[in-house]
């Protein structure tokens, strides 16, 4: 058995070493290799070698931190229980949903938006199984890509479930059923989040689903009710609406898109989504749910009390938010505490009260966004290796990948009013943008909010085609403390959608040319 593991010459050199000087036997790598094999075979418990960094969680926060740590020369191990890296984002979140959003948009466009473009299309049919296969192909290629990056950057990938045994040791239940433990000088918790369940409804991911079930339905439901009109609810509602479901969104607040979305932008996108066939019930709360029969029944009424009614659906998507996931992490073994919303409490350098244990991503403070987690992952490794790191929480963009897309960064009008900041507004509609017109895709607008005195940009809000890409320019401007004049005086290529961005900036400090 061992002949395959060691070359024949290995034994000779080991013996030669023994004959010459006893000192060399201890130092010889061959001897060490042999004794290691014997030790493994005997199955003795051996003291775990201490890593510079042990990361619990191989999601966006964890894997980015692991790669960065490897690049910085740390000896790093990353523990992931899912069996594939990338966490919620790559496996059941951002990536698969974007695949479905893109392909369902193409299907919808081919069905409804080709005649005016001079394209006559024959019989168009949906092949849902193939659409799901395309999604799975994208996901698997990306997750395998991360495994490759782990190998490239010398990251040890441990497939199993980690829990704190003590302050420096993580006990791991491996996927093959065995157990091991890893010790780390530093430990990073990046365990992410999970969908918040709705009281009274049992999530079975078939009839009552979360975002995880919404990307894996086997057939297009006839009627779908989305509980929660935030980003996840609207994106997944859009997918199934385009594929033929009758979608009703029930939202407790008076606007869709969540509280961060600017009210004017929210109204704009609601109008556009309504044109696409989605129905909205705002200021409405779900009182009770009954998922016992094949059809799920939801009793809803006005949020401030009022007329009640019962909604029926084949599928109910619960999208009322996400909560930090720290279950079975053994936090009680080391005395780490969470706040009233289950978030692990950290300081400005991501340290818990035990300074060598740090936390990043969804399971701690800040918005639950993959790109925020990525920023934190880089910063936390810099804190460990270089003593400084930085994340600007005031300049983290948010994007909703409906069609048209919605994107924003910085503050919205309601927040500025509440803070008592004097501001000015500049807007530019895509209907006045040459490229949007030629694309026959001109719903939406760009909106700038700037300080009334200094002209410094305070917020950028976009609803329109390619908003998710365009917001990068707004984020850069905000990060660098630019004025709207700085953006307005910067040349933007013609004809591009980005010209709408420039013109909205011009409209803030002066006047737009084309509107």
């Amino acid at each position: 058995m061992y002949s395959r593991l060691l070359p024949r010459s290995a034994a000779r050199s080991a013996l030669q070493a023994q004959n010459q000087t006893p000192h060399l036997i201890r130092a010889s790598p061959v001897t060490a290799q042999v004794s290691e094999r014997i030790r493994q075979r005997r199955g003795y418990a051996t003291p775990a070698e201490e890593r510079d960094l042990v990361i619990i969680g191989g999601g966006v926060a964890g894997y980015v931190a692991a790669i960065k740590a490897g690049q910085e020369g740390l000896k790093v191990a990353c523990i992931e229980k899912r069996g594939s890296l990338g966490g919620t984002c790559l496996n059941v979140g951002c990536i698969p949903s974007k695949s479905l959003l893109n392909n369902s948009h193409l299907y919808h466009q081919i069905l409804h938006d080709t005649k005016n473009r001079g394209i006559d299309v024959g019989d168009v049919k949906l092949n849902l199984a193939n659409m799901m296969k395309a999604k799975e192909t994208s996901v698997s290629s990306l997750t395998k890509g991360i495994e490759f990056l782990f190998k490239k950057n010398n990251v040890e990938y441990i497939k199993g479930t980690g829990a704190f045994a003590d302050e420096h040791t993580v006990a791991v239940r491996l996927q093959d059923g065995s157990e091991t433990s890893v010790r780390g000088k530093n430990i990073l918790i990046a365990t992410g989040s999970e969908s918040t369940p709705f009281p009274g409804l049992t999530i079975d991911e078939k009839k009552v689903i979360t975002s995880t079930g919404a990307i894996a339905l086997e057939k297009v439901p006839k009627k779908m009710v989305v509980v929660g009109g935030g980003i996840i609810g609207l994106e997944m509602g859009s997918v199934w609406c385009r594929l033929g479901a009758e979608v009703t969104v029930v939202e407790f607040l008076g606007q869709i898109g969540g509280p961060g979305m600017d009210a004017e932008i929210s109204k704009n996108i609601q109008k556009t989504l309504a044109k696409q066939g989605m129905k909205f019930m705002l200021n409405t709360k779900v009182v009770k749910g009954d998922d016992g029969a094949e059809i799920v029944k939801l009793d809803v009424e006005a949020a401030k009390g009022g007329k009640a009614q019962t909604l029926e659906a084949d599928v109910v998507l619960v999208a009322i938010g996400r909560r930090p996931y720290t279950a079975n992490l053994g936090l009680e073994n080391i005395g780490l505490e969470t706040d009233n919303r289950g978030r692990l409490v950290i300081d400005s350098e991501y340290r818990t009260k035990l300074p060598h244990i740090r936390v990043i991503g969804d399971c701690t403070f800040g918005p639950m966004l993959a790109h925020k987690a990525e920023e934190e992952a880089v910063a936390v490794i810099e804190f460990i290796t270089k003593n400084y790191g930085h994340v600007n929480y005031g300049a983290i963009p948010s994007v909703m990948y409906t069609h048209p897309e919605v994107a924003w960064v910085g503050q919205n009008e309601a927040e500025l009013k509440e803070a008592g900041v004097k501001y000015k507004v500049g807007t530019f509609p895509f209907s006045a943008n040459s490229r949007a017109k030629t694309n026959q895709d001109s719903d939406g607008m760009v909106k700038f909010l700037a300080d009334a005195e200094t002209d410094r940009i305070l917020g950028v809000h976009i609803v329109g085609p390619n908003a998710g890409e365009m917001i990068a320019e707004g984020t850069l401007a905000l990060e660098y403390g630019a004025s709207t004049e700085d953006v307005g005086r910067t040349s933007h290529a013609h004809p591009t959608l980005a010209e709408a961005f420039k013109e909205a900036a011009m409209a803030t400090y002066g006047k737009a040319i084309h509107y």
Binding site: R12, K353, Y393
Partner: protein
């Protein structure tokens, strides 16, 4: 050209190049715990301060160590005179925590193993018990590994 220059002189762009990136020195950075910028309460729980107060098993934490040295200079000089190791090791030896005999038996509590603790390997599940040596392994060890490479 001139008109552009004139216009540029009037306008004060907010974006300015700040120069080459400055890397702060370790002593320039304050590592004392501060509330996370995204923390809703904007304050740290009491446990952070109390943990730092108690933390001794890996040596005093950075800031605390400096504070100790500043507040008790006579103590540190006397230990260095006796040839004790400097830094965190010195601070550790000056305290009874962790040292044998540093606590009374009553303070240490019951001698019975806690749940999950075992005195003997044989009390553990069978897979952790000592496995028997085989003749082949013994031979391999004695021959320096040569007998297993055949």
């Amino acid at each position: 050209m001139r008109s552009s220059r004139a216009l540029w002189a009037q306008r004060q762009p907010l974006i300015k190049f700040l120069g080459k990136r400055h890397t702060p020195k370790a002593e320039e950075i304050d590592h004392a715990p501060h509330a996370h910028p995204a923390s809703p309460s904007h304050e740290l729980p009491e446990s952070f301060a109390s943990y730092r107060g108690r933390a001794t098993q890996h040596g005093p934490l950075g800031g605390q160590q400096q504070q100790q040295q500043q507040s008790t200079p006579s103590q540190s000089t006397s230990s260095s005179r006796q040839g004790a190791p400097s830094g965190s090791a010195a601070a550790q030896t000056s305290k009874p925590y962790g040292a044998i005999g540093g606590h009374s038996g009553k303070q240490l509590g019951s001698v019975q193993p806690k749940q999950g603790e075992f005195w003997d390997r044989n009390e553990l599940p069978r897979r952790f018990h000592r496995t028997r040596w085989t003749e082949a392994e013994m031979e391999a060890l004695e021959s320096g590994g040569a007998s297993i490479v055949t």
